[in-house]
């Protein structure tokens, strides 16, 4: 096997369907070399900020700012990570508390937008009913608006909801509601687009067997929509995990602050945080979602391709 690899390198890298139709071509060595250089250069530009942030994060000197480009600083350590996990900002809040707050928002947004949205997406995709056009335009119109467009009214409205000492605006639940306001239309649209591509044959077969709409939805559509459910839930999760503008505007008490708020505190013009700690914190925030994104990537890209073909 190993002896033959050199002879058929293309069959390995190419999708099977393409490989069968495409005749074997060899790239002249000169062109191969030039293209490799180009690709390598692009890879370096892509990786440059990442290398920079990683090298800062493991800088052991705890200096406020780096003084040059070093890939791996001498005596590299994870001290900055330990520091930001304990207390990332001047506020007496640990990383775990911040992460728990962001997680709370993320889970609410994610479950609410998918759970409520998928029912609507199914109706929009598969049913003919009065007012369908109007409602779809309504959803699309909201989709077009940036999240910031509802900041003022939501701030004002949620501030008015005061039960004893609890103010809905000054709570993580209030922030989650505000973000869901913008996330739900996106979720509906995203899932509708996917359900549109599921062939109707299975549903018709289910209908012949006497299944109602709800049974068809539950036993046919839902299982087939798993990829888009995962992707939509994940987008909702990212929206909550990295949420900045609503939490920065709404929340007053440090114990309910979120990750993005702490991050803002570290880079603002008054920021006195050593950059190594900022870098470590950024990595801790980005890593979980980045890793999951990598895994879900092909489904996300698949969704984009469908959108592209349909447009």
């Amino acid at each position: 096997m190993t002896a033959q690899v050199g002879a058929v390198p293309q069959a390995i890298t190419k999708p099977v369907a393409v490989a069968t139709t495409q005749r074997q071509r060899r790239l002249p060595l000169r062109r191969q070399f030039i293209l490799q250089l180009v690709c390598l250069f692009i890879a370096l530009t892509v990786l440059f900020p990442i290398m920079w942030i990683v090298s800062m994060a493991i800088d052991p000197r705890n200096i406020s700012r780096p003084d040059g480009l070093t890939l791996i600083p001498p005596g590299a350590s994870f001290a900055a990570f330990a520091q930001v996990i304990q207390q990332p900002t001047q506020n007496p809040v640990s990383f775990v508390q911040l992460a728990a707050n962001s997680l709370f928002i993320a889970v609410i947004i994610s479950t609410a937008s998918v759970g409520v949205g998928v029912l609507a997406a199914y109706a929009f995709s598969r049913m003919a009913f009065r007012g369908r056009e109007t409602l779809m335009i309504g959803v699309l119109a909201v989709l077009m608006l940036p999240a910031v467009a509802t900041l003022a009214p939501l701030y004002v409205m949620l501030s008015k909801v005061q039960i004893g000492t609890f103010n809905l605006r000054d709570s993580l639940f209030g922030v989650a509601l505000a973000v869901t306001s913008g996330q739900l239309p996106f979720a509906i649209w995203n899932m509708k687009g996917y359900i549109d591509t599921i062939p109707r044959d299975l549903e018709e077969a289910a209908a012949v067997d006497g299944a109602g709409k709800l049974q068809t939805f539950w036993h046919v559509i839902l299982p087939l929509s798993t990829p888009v459910l995962a992707v939509t839930a994940f987008f909702g999760f990212i929206a909550g995990w990295t949420e900045f503008y609503f939490s920065w505007q709404f929340l007053d008490q440090p114990q309910s602050f979120t990750l993005a708020m702490a991050l803002n505190g570290m880079v603002g013009q008054y920021g006195t945080t050593p950059w190594s700690q900022f870098a470590a914190f950024s990595i801790l925030v980005a890593l979980p979602v980045s890793v999951v994104y990598m895994f879900l990537q092909r489904y996300i890209v698949g969704g984009l391709a469908i959108g592209g073909v349909k447009g």
Binding site: T45, V46, V139, V142, T242, F244, W248, F278, V301, L304
Partner: protein, 335 residues
């Protein structure tokens, strides 16, 4: 579920029976419509009312009096650039915002397609390796991208200036251009003002934006049957002719909707402007979204912010209508 159960027990009237499909559809829609009515549509309507009042900090309290009605005053204040934010110029912000979105999308699409074509070259080594690396900017949360790039453009300790030191063999700290705060704009023609900070933002957003375009373009490229290229070769077509006759017609229907989507996303891109340049220098890299945020967050002018959001709505509506026409006008290439 309980909604469905209770609906099944309601007495059936003839209209109910006749519009059975509509009824079922609305049962599915009910949860979403309820949620959106309360936290999306009502706030939007409420916002229109707010925009005609002098809503401020004093009206926030649960028992506060209703704010006074001020007619179109808030709208006029925005158009007359009279909204406390220093250096605010509505026309300049709008022109910059449009140019920001347009310039980014053009560069994203061109780079994305070019790199997709390079990576699609038959026989190129390490394709998978490069594809895995090139996707990295896509998976990093934008707020992290923005804060990291802000530090990279720092005048004395930023990676960009360090890199320039190394390339031009200057001593460390030899080059310390303050990219994000150069007071003199590079281009200034009426409301069209581009400071150096714009180019720094552009660099960060190009880094962020091309990879996804490249992914979409790759999908389109791989859907092209190879027979078409072979046929074109038999007709004696060169590389450029093959690109125009075969590749482009397949790319266009995939890339155009995505470019439109990218335009709207970039038009409303909050993080880079807010975190990298802070809208500076002199508000020249401020976008509509960051201005809207400052009106609420820094100025606490909720009434003015509401009017501003109404302007944003109509601007985005206009953009949507124009881009839809554009998409329809080029739809003939679909076949």
């Amino acid at each position: 579920m309980s909604v469905l159960a209770s609906a099944a027990t309601t007495p059936r009237r003839s209209w109910w029976r006749r519009s059975r499909n509509t009824r079922t559809a609305y049962l599915f829609l009910l949860p979403a419509l309820l949620v959106m009515a309360v936290i999306t549509f009502y706030p939007l309507v409420f916002q229109v009312w707010m925009s005609f009042t002098d809503y401020g900090l004093k009206n926030l309290n649960a028992r506060a009096p209703a704010p006074p009605y001020v007619g179109f005053n808030n709208y006029l204040r925005i158009l007359q650039n009279n909204i406390v934010i220093p250096n605010f110029d509505f026309m300049r912000v709008l022109v910059f915002n449009l140019w920001w979105a347009l310039s980014n999308v053009v560069i994203h699409v061109v780079l994305g397609v070019l790199i997709a074509i390079i990576l699609n070259t038959p026989g190129l080594w390490l394709k998978r390796f490069y594809r895995a690396i090139y996707i990295v900017p896509v998976v990093i949360p934008p707020i992290i991208v923005a804060t990291v790039w802000r530090n990279m453009f720092d005048p004395t300790n930023g990676a960009v200036n360090f890199l320039i030191d190394i390339i031009f063999r200057l001593p460390p700290g030899g080059f310390n251009l303050d990219w994000l705060n150069q007071p003199n704009p590079i281009i200034a023609a009426g409301p069209f003002v581009l400071p150096l900070a714009y180019f720094a933002l552009l660099a960060a957003n190009v880094w962020l934006g091309w990879p996804l375009n490249s992914v979409v373009a790759t999908g389109a490229l791989q859907s092209i049957p190879n027979e078409l290229y072979e046929a074109a070769e038999m007709d004696g077509a060169g590389a450029w002719a093959k690109f125009r006759a075969v590749t482009l017609p397949f790319l266009r229907p995939a890339m155009l909707p995505y470019a439109i989507y990218g335009f709207v996303i970039t038009f409303n891109l909050f993080y880079l402007s807010y975190f990298m340049s802070g809208g500076g220098p002199f508000g020249q890299t401020e976008l509509l979204v960051t201005t809207a945020y400052r009106l609420v967050n820094e100025q606490q002018l909720y009434g003015v912010a509401a009017a501003f959001a109404v302007f944003q709505f109509f601007i985005l509506l206009a953009i949507t209508l124009v881009t839809n026409r554009l998409a329809k006008a080029t739809a003939q290439f679909d076949a």
